[in-house]
Structures are given as C-alpha cells and as structure tokens.
Symmetry: C2
DNA sequence: ATGAAAGCGCTAACAT
DNA sequence: ATGTTAGCGCTTTCAT
C-alpha cells in the first residue's frame, strides 16, 4: 500500500488521529463536517487501511485459523463454509490449513498461525502437538475449538458429531431389516469418532442379543484405496456379512469401487450404510443410506462458539462440549431401489 | 504473544538485531556460539516471532488470498489443495474466501485482502470489480492470477481449462456413438467457460454436418436445483435429445436427480457426459463419462505462477495465459454398463 | 472537537 | 561480529 493514513490526514487537513476516529467510528466523536472531509479524502486517494499495522497495535488480527485434516473431504468444505458465513459478519478472515493428518505439518501451521496472531483456532487435531496447543491457549489468549475429535487434557471447546448415537441408529436400522451379520468398516479407534462409533454399533448388537463377531469389525485409515482392500477381505470371509456400516465417505468410496467392480448387488447381496452424508449419496444409483449431520449448521455453531469465546475471553471460562445430533437418512442402499436401474 | 524479541535478546545477552539475524538466517552472519545462545533462549522462552510486526516492516505478509466462487464445489477444493501444497514450501499461508458468485461479497473480501497486505491473489472473478482489481495490480504490486475465467482488459496471469477442446471432444465422442440430437446444458455463456464450451460443442456439430438446433442448448446458473428444472424442460421437449452434455458437476447433480426420479435409463435412453470430473463420477452406477482435468496439478501450476510472479515482480512482466488440457474419461454413462446393477 | 506523540515488534541501515 | 536506532502505519493517551 502506498497511500497511508498520513496522506489522508494531510489531504483532509486534519490530524491522523482524526482519520482513525472516522475509520473506526470511535472511540472519539468526530464533527460531521470533518468526517465528510476525511471520507472524501479517503475516497479520492483510494485509501485502504493497513490491517497489519492495526493488528500490531491492537494485538487482534481479525483472522482465525482453521486447520483441517483433509481439505478434499467435502465434510470439511461444508464446515468451513458454515464457519466462514458466521465470521464474515464480524469481518473476520479464515486462514485455511490442511494438516493432511500429519503432525509435523500441523505443528508448522500452528506456529504460523500464532505468528500471525490469529484471534482463534478451529482444528481437527491429529492428536499430537498437545503441548503446543496447551501453551497456545494459556499464553496467547487464543481460544481453540476442537472439531470432530475430543482430546483429553485440553481445556477447550469441542464440537463433535454424535457418533455413538449415529452408529447405534444405523446398526439398529439394519437389525430391523433382518440383518444378522453386520460388519463395521471403521476409522481408527484410536480417535474418538472411531471408538464412539464402535460403541454405538456394539450397543445396538447387544440390545438385539446378536453375537459380537470380531471378524466383522475392521479398522481402516482414511484412504479410499485401503477401503477397497478391506472391503475385499470382509466380503470374501468364510461367513460374509449381509450388511456393512462404513464409517466415512472416503472409506465408502473405496467400498463402492469394490462392489461395483465385482458386481455385488446393493442392497440385495449387501446392504450399505455410510457416514458423513455428502451430496452425491442422494443421487447415485443406488442412493446411499447414511448417518447425516447438518454440516453447515455445525459450522455455524463452531463459528459462533469461537467468536463468542474471542470477544469475551475469560480465564475461568468453562469449556463446552457440544454434540451435534445426527439422523439416519434411509435410501436405496438398505431398502432397495423403487426406481430400479 | 507476550514474549518478544527483546526478551530473547536480554536472556541471550545479545542485541535484538542479532536475534533477528539468527531467526532469519541473515542477512548478516552470526558466530556459531552466539547463535546457539540465541536458539537456546528462544527455546527456553517458547518464543514465536510476530509475523505481523515483520510484515509491517517488510511489506510482505507471506500470505496469499484465494477467492473462489463456491467453496463447496470440489473443483475448488482440489485447486486449493494444489495451491496450498506449493505455497507451504515457501511458508506461505492461504486466506480462503468464498465470494458465492456475489460481486459485493467479492469486493469486500478483496478489500480485506489488500488491507492484510497479501502478497498475491488467486481469484475466480465474478466479472465485476474490475476497477478494484486493476487498481490493486497497479498500485500495490500485488500480482493476481485469474482462474477459470479470463477477463478482457485485466493484464494478469490467467489459468483456464481448455473448455473449447473439452466440449469438442465430448461432443465428438457422442457423435461417434451415433447420437444425432445432442443437447448442451451450459453455464451462463456470459462467462468464458460457458461460451468456450458452446464453441467446442458447435464446432463438433458443424464438422459432423449436424444441424444446430437452438432448442437443444440451454443455459443454467450454478445451482443444482435449477438444473433439475432445465433437465425436465429439455427431456420433455417434442423431440428430446438422446444425449446430454452437462457443463458442470453442480448442474450434473441436478440432472442425475431428475433422471433418477423419473427412471430414465442411462445411457440407453439418454447418454450423459459431465464436466469437472470429480471423484464420485467414477464409482456411481452408472459411472459418469466426463471431461477431466488434473485439478491438483492445475493448482500447482497456479501456485507456481503466483509464487514466481511474487518473487520477481516486474513492471514489464508479460501476463501469461495458461490453458490446462483436459481429456475425456469414458465411462458407463455413454457406453453402457458392463457391470449392470 | 481536535492535535501531538509514544509505542506495538520487527528489520536493516548505520554504527563500532 | 555485534550493538544502536529509525521507522513501518496504526491506535490511543495526553494534551490543548
């Protein structure tokens, strides 16, 4: 920027302080006549205030950092959109970072964000870098909202899916359809979503007095190609399941690849329930029954929580745990296609 | 941040300048012994340099702004990922902004980005705010890379899909399959991608001596629900087409909804070709034939172009126009399902 | 109602 | 090889 506030002051024939008060609408009143002069000068010079200089002074950057584990996952795009919608009203920007589930990359980004003096951080934590996160909250008055994964020992807000309930509902749905052998292709159970979904699944089985067959529970990573192999293993076992619950849209992609290539009719031979309802689930053939969450709304919740936390940061703030409910959307992959294809 | 560079200097028993030279690895050499002392002090205090203060001094923010028209569109997520991968190596951050195809929102974001002194901007322009964009390039030494849409009169780099060729290939493919009545559900032809695709489509028809029936070309916006209605109109016309070329993944979503609800067999009754190859095209039933571009690579190209432009900004730089080639991926929606379903 | 000036944390030119 | 210091553009306290 070449035009500075001093240029504006000079042109308007006022002091630079007055220009500030005009721009910020305070904290000191400015005579209407003076105001007009200043505004005209700003306009004439095409002046844009330097947020950087302001931030240096105020220690606020009106920027928040969002660190997600996979920017390509539509779940995170949808959340980011929700967060952005809330933040734009307050003139905040989002710095979007993609940790790729890599703790080193995560740490690097966190350092960058702190250096940029972000006013808050939203993160799907890898689970590492706890020290840094703790230190950040304590030392920098930089509120943090965890999404998707709760981490013990971090006194921060946390917004999660109701994983246990989601898995429970999905499993019950399959049981009610008469399935006896229901498999679960799960996320790593080292992370909260993974083990919560496992719990929900097991609870539904237990309540229905169905045996818990360890061969029916398989854990994958986040990669679709791994899901392909795991689907192969599950479906070729001596006693294959008649239904499969798949714990993420990425894993489901791998499973669909497999069932498609091997012409496994869905739901006749295998009923399928997905998690992370994403748009295309609705218009594929068959369409996919899924545990669905209103992601944009969840993003809004996250944004609001963070914003509120930023504006009144308080030493004895009590971290909140918000569980966003999910509901089962029943489609053709479990109840058969009314349309055929 | 509470710990400043002065605290570090004091603890290490050196001047603050020396701390700078250690942190930045120059521009002045520092004795190894001193270096170690400084590094130890940094570590001990948990010091993080303030990027904000540095930016104020250097006029560089090591941040770029990315303004896309729809963050929920996987095309843009993929591009953003490619850009980010390039920028991370140079320690740049991405501020991601979602204009939602709204010129006012776009302008607001552009102002914010300039205020934050971003070092460069990547944008899918709405087509408005030309003055601001021009002014920004000229006045702020802030290079701009346009993506997807070329704007006349803006002397900036521009990276686009090879829309004409893509549409041409797709249309040819359908012609070779024997289709005579091929419809085009297009983006607004006021934007470059729209009219280039129209050109490609028309060229293929012309070369095959097929008549150009205006009823077969329909323009939509970007919304899936509008596409649903348009699909209805096209397919219920007196002489319905036997093949349909759909100009974006969002529009295709609407079309698939329609064909699904009305049990229109694909490709038997209607052959379908999409644009913007996105992952799910491959594993739906039927899978979708599409004009495909390597988006991550395209993101890399964009990132590199911008980065190079940032590091040697030059008054007589000649803006580059890069056209990223696309290729047709033939799947079941045009050639029939080998797998059935 | 307005002006003058200190200072935010850093970089780099000018010192030694 | 290292220290000193001006100044980036802003906000805000202290003046008037």
């Amino acid at each position: 920027m070449n035009v500075t506030r001093n240029d504006v002051a000079r042109l308007a024939g006022v002091s630079s302080a007055t220009v500030s008060y005009v721009i910020n609408n305070g904290p000191r009143p400015v005579a209407e006549h003076t105001r007009q002069k200043v505004l005209r000068a700003i306009d004439q010079l095409g002046y844009n205030p330097s947020t950087i200089a302001r931030s240096l002074k105020t220690k606020k950057s009106t920027t928040i950092g969002v660190v997600v584990s996979d920017i390509l996952n539509p779940v995170f795009s949808a959340l980011a959109k929700g967060i952005e919608d809330v933040m734009l009203e307050r003139n905040y920007n989002l710095i979007l970072c993609n940790s790729d589930e890599n703790p080193e990359r995560e740490l690097r980004y966190l350092r960058m964000l702190v250096g940029k003096q972000v006013d808050g951080i939203v993160i799907t934590p890898t689970g590492k870098n706890l020290n840094f996160l703790l230190h950040t909250v304590a030392a920098n008055n930089c509120p943090i909202v965890l999404i998707d994964r709760k981490i013990e020992g971090l006194p921060t807000d946390c917004v999660t899916f109701d994983n246990e309930m989601g898995a429970y509902q999905a499993t019950r749905h399959l049981i009610e359809l008469g399935h006896r052998r229901i498999a679960l292709l799960n996320l790593p159970s080292t992370l909260t979503p993974g083990h919560e979904r496992l719990f929900g699944y097991e609870r539904a089985l237990r309540e229905a007095d169905l045996p818990r067959d360890p061969n029916l529970v398989v854990e994958g990573s986040f990669k679709a190609d791994e899901a392909y192999r795991l689907a192969e293993i599950i479906l070729n076992s001596p006693e294959p399941p008649t239904a499969l619950l798949v714990s993420s849209n990425r894993l489901l992609a791998g499973v669909l690849n497999y069932t498609k290539q091997h012409c496994i009719p869905i739901p006749q031979k295998l009923a399928l329930v997905g998690f992370d309802d994403v748009p295309y689930y609705a218009y594929t053939s068959p369409s996919i029954t899924a545990v669905s969450t209103d992601l944009k709304h969840m993003g809004t919740v996250i944004g609001r929580l963070l914003e509120q936390h930023i504006t009144n940061f308080d030493k004895d703030y009590i971290p909140q745990n918000i569980r966003v409910p999910s509901k089962l959307i029943v489609r053709e992959s479990t109840i058969g296609s009314p349309a055929g294809s």
